[in-house]
Amino acid sequence: MNPRIQEVSRLDRLIHEPARLVIMMVLQGTGEADFLYLQRECGLTQGNLSSHLLKLEEAGYVEIEKKFKGKRPLTICRLTSVGEESLASYSRSIVRALQFNQRPKRP
């Protein structure tokens, strides 16, 4: 099998799940966000978002912190350095695989 095709089978399955990929992309772009913002941006239900965040937190990709903005408590989520590296590595792998899959243009 072509090594680039093989690379697809080695993709990080934790990130490969669409909802978790979107969560990580939003967190990477935003820097940090709370639960409500993530829910709105990702279009996920509260339960779905909770379970996906839990999995990402267990893998060490996301850290969740309870803090206050003014007097209001917020559940702040942000990518860890491990999460950022994993997302970057995943992105490189999938872009390489998709580039390989493109057919050359006919003259």
Binding site: A33, L36, L38, C42, K69, K71, R72, L74
Partner: protein
Amino acid sequence: MNITNAELTVSPGRRAATYWFADGLEEIAFGLLFFISGAAGLLFSHWSHRWLGLVILIFFIGLWILLCADRPIIESFKARLTYPRTGYARPPDNPEPDQDILVDFLLPATRRRAPLTLWTARAVDENVTSFKARTVYVLLAASVATELGKGGRWSTATILVVTALFVFVLNRGEVRAYSFWTVFPMALAGLLSAAVELPSQSRQLLPLVIGGGWLLWIGSWTLVRYLRAHSKPDIGREGRS
């Protein structure tokens, strides 16, 4: 999953930066400072010149505070108003100063970055705004230009029209873009101001009054629309993870 939210053309970083302006509070803050200072200056320039210096001093102190600490000040309001309704996202930074300043200033952000940036670089760099450089400083520059023009009737009107055009052009494609019809009232007010009899010293304050009033109007309109679109949250809506 609602895929309409995952707009591929707008990166999450730019969406977060746009979100900072969703409630109009940033514009209201600068608009209030400009408008109140300008209006007070206009009033005192007619009434008593003795207080004019104090008004100018208060304006510059307020401006310095807002330029240095606008994020924490506005965040304290957002914590009560915005975050409970639509959530918290990290406020945008100012752009990195190491970029080519002229290119950065003239080109809208959408044309400066390749779409694949999201995949190859730290997309968090997209959570930036140059609102101050493209709007606040342009309005300040208009005030300085009016001073240099010695508050002439037509020079002030021209400066305000040019300022409106600059604000429109410089913010195209930015996270806080203004349509032509949004900046048109500022240009119109500038032209109409030429018909009003004012001493040149008072006319020099018009960019602050008109520019500040314009910002205040835009911010308030945005805030009203935001509050109408997003009702008060239910108790216990704050997510748990």
